[in-house]
């Protein structure tokens, strides 16, 4: 892992007067901390798209990306299961049009992680106890059910494993409906690493990794929000 890489990303955003990292930057920061993220590439020019789609491999996910847009789904800037280069080009135009006016508008071409189990991992800073890591049910259920648990950083492996067992929906991590049991050690390492970010990067104020999708047994951070201060 590289604290320096992460710090550079933060410094850049700060210089530009932003309070959040773009999804693309956020994923680079996470990757610097060995947190599994989607393979992805940022495309600014229409001419670079086909090559990017080929490299990532269909089906892909396309997301409209701009520094000032935090919640992309709510702004209808996410298209999943894009199967051909032609389809990708058409969507690229739509997304860019929807972001007209954003100086840094670009489209993120992302591998599509298929998996029906969505989790959330996050970081918050409590005024009394400092960096605290969250785990819970992800996707739309995060806000609806608030089925979540917290641990103060640094997390030991035991803390990480326990907080997963503390949510009401913990059975989602077991083998269910033909899906394999989640790799809870890999999930625990994500939780511990998010805690490490909280301790090592004081300028990271909040993190949402939502969803973290279970691709088979393997957890992958599919979307990421990093708030800086």
């Amino acid at each position: 892992m590289s604290t320096a890489t992460a710090q550079q990303l933060i410094d850049t955003a700060r210089r530009e007067g932003r309070t959040t990292l773009s999804e693309y930057e956020a994923k680079q920061l996470l990757a610097a901390y060995d947190i599994p993220v989607t393979r992805e590439t940022l495309v600014r020019q229409r001419g670079e798209l086909a090559d990017a789609v080929r490299r990532i491999g269909c089906p892909v996910v396309l997301k409209g990306c701009a520094a000032h847009i935090a919640h992309k789904t709510e702004k209808n800037l996410v298209r999943v299961d894009v199967r051909t280069e032609d389809e990708a080009l058409k969507i690229f135009d739509e997304l860019m049009a929807a972001m007209a006016g954003e100086a840094d508008a670009a489209v993120l071409v992302q591998e599509m992680i298929s998996g029906r189990r969505e989790l959330v991992v996050g970081l918050t800073r409590d005024p009394q106890f400092g960096a605290c890591v969250m785990f819970g049910l992800g996707g739309i259920f995060t806000e609806i059910l608030k089925d979540i648990s917290f641990r103060k950083a640094p997390l030991e492996m035991r803390d990480a494993l326990e907080m997963m067992q503390e949510i009401r929906g913990r059975k989602i991590l077991k083998a269910v409906r033909g899906m394999p049991a989640a790799d809870t050690e890999a999930l625990a390492r994500i939780l511990m690493q998010v805690g490490a970010i909280g301790l090592e990067l004081p300028s990271v104020a909040e993190i949402d990794l939502n969803p973290v999708i279970l691709s088979g047994a393997r957890p992958v951070a599919v979307d990421a929000l990093v708030v800086i201060k």
Partner: protein
């Protein structure tokens, strides 16, 4: 934060050989005179030096005009003078060699004024020079062994025991001391530290951790000074003895301006509960739940209990018990036919049921029979602990029929002896539920008999809870704590 913990002489603070009370007014009952009365009433046996700038005597005792005039050494000072005079009094006590001072006066940081804050900072500065301060704005220390008591505590118990308790709030502390006395809880030491200018939750927790007199720690917390240090002290203490925490003010007031879902959902209530779980502390929601947990942790052998038997009667006992038990990791295995048959042979007919729970149906089944049933139940290897749901309030009817006093017709002493004997014989603890539905003005004899019965059980080391759900909840705390502690 005052002198380093290592150099603090807690022994002299909690078991002071002599005391000085600074600020005993001759007129009326001020705090100084009040605490002196409390100390005399509870029977503190050391010398108590009283200070009043006017000199003279009070109740036949010399009033020394200043701390300097006190003729002998003292370990602990109790300061009750007006706030502006506190720093000078504290400094005088430090120079006189006192290990600590409990400042009951108010008029400091809690006022929120610049003047109050400045006075409190003066106290902190003097404490750093080498005297530990409890308070200001507190009720002080209660320690049954040394006969040290809080301001409103002339009638607290002198029986020492394993429970240590700390609280910002003095009222909460003295209420818990009183509640404890009526329930038979025994304390090692109790500290109400008010504003906590010097000694406060974290350092007290570290002290309680290594205090051989303390077997379990209770805490009422409004806020902590240093979250990281508190967490560390909590975790290391809970690793050796149970720490039971009632956190006041858990509502997530004052939403912060945040952008992520994580931060918006991480309010202080949720974070506190998580922190307590992470440290393996036991979280309770009220002081009665605190008392129940303290009882379970100090009277029952520390381990995880799984299978329980429930014996007694009353309404939907079986259903209620089974539902509640499951929530706390307990289960009530049905007895095998052979055992159920032997229990059935002892039960009155009809209306009883020998399975598990065992419904005795008739409240007047003699203790001898109850004893036999409890012996049989304990023979089932799946049973770790037994619950006896008492129906002794029904003896009021027996008293009415026979025209004899209730306490004479109710066999609670025999029952207590029998239960104690069965526990000793089987090695499996028994918990008693004493639920009194007859507690109104027309049943004061029942109320009194229940108090007697409770004392009889607790004196024999048998925990008593008011309701079955209170008892199961306390067992749940025990299970959760020991399950995590051993893993």
């Amino acid at each position: 934060m005052g002198a380093a913990a290592g150099s603090t002489d807690f022994e002299r603070i909690f078991h002071p050989r002599n005391l000085a009370i600074i600020g005993v007014s001759k007129e009326g009952i001020g705090f100084g005179a009040g605490i002196c009365n409390s100390l005399r009433a509870i029977g503190y046996s050391g010398e108590i030096y009283l200070v009043n700038p006017k000199g003279g005597t009070w109740n036949g005792q010399t009033l020394y005009p200043s701390v300097e005039d006190i003729p002998g050494p003292f370990d602990l000072a109790i300061i009750a003078v007006a706030a502006p005079a506190v720093p000078a009094a504290l400094e005088a006590c430090r120079l006189k060699g006192a290990a600590g001072a409990s400042i009951v006066s108010s008029g400091f940081k809690e006022l929120g004024t610049a003047e109050g804050l400045a006075l409190e900072q003066e106290i902190v500065a003097i404490a750093k020079k080498g005297i530990r301060v409890i308070g200001p704005n507190c009720f002080g220390i209660y320690c049954p062994r040394s006969g040290l008591t809080m301001l409103p505590g002339p009638d607290l118990s002198r029986q020492s025991g394993p429970i240590a308790f700390s609280s910002q709030s003095g009222g909460m502390a003295v209420d818990f001391a009183n509640l404890g006395k009526s329930l038979g809880l025994k304390f090692s030491k109790m500290v109400s530290f008010g504003n906590g200018a010097d000694l406060r939750e974290t350092e007290l927790l570290r002290y309680f951790r290594q205090d051989p007199e303390t077997g379990a720690v209770g805490m009422y917390i409004e806020g902590v000074q240093d979250g990281d240090a508190f967490f560390h002290a909590l975790k290391t203490t809970a690793a050796v003895k149970p720490v039971i925490v009632n956190k006041g003010g858990l509502s997530d007031a004052g939403a912060r301006a945040v952008q992520s879902h994580t931060a918006s959902m991480g309010g202080s209530g949720r974070i506190w509960s998580s922190i307590l779980r992470q440290a393996n502390a036991v979280q309770v929601q009220s002081m009665t739940e605190m008392a129940d947990a303290c009882q379970a942790f100090t009277l029952l052998p520390g381990r995880v209990y799984r299978g329980i038997s429930v014996l007694g009667g009353g309404g939907a006992l079986g259903v209620a018990a089974a539902d509640a038990a499951e929530t706390y990791g307990l289960h009530i295995p049905a007895f095998h036919d052979d055992l159920a048959g032997r229990i059935d042979a002892l039960l009155p007919k009809p209306g009883s049921s020998p399975g598990n729970p065992v419904d005795v149906a008739n409240p007047f089944v003699p203790p001898k029979t109850i004893k036999e049933i409890m012996r049989l139940s304990a023979s089932d290897p799946r049973i770790d602990l037994q619950i006896f749901n008492s129906l002794i309030h029904h003896y009021k009817n027996m008293a009415r029929i026979t025209g004899r006093p209730l306490k004479e017709v109710t066999p609670y002493l025999e029952l207590a002896d029998d239960i104690q004997a069965v526990v000793a014989e089987t090695g499996k603890p028994i918990v008693v539920i004493l639920f009194n539905p007859k507690s109104g003005m027309d049943h004061l004899d029942v109320v009194e008999m229940f108090a007697d019965a409770r004392r009889a059980f607790v004196q024999r080391g048998i925990p008593v809870f008011n309701t079955l759900s209170d008892g199961l909840r306390a067992l749940g705390h025990l299970n959760a704590y020991y399950e995590r502690k051993r893993s």
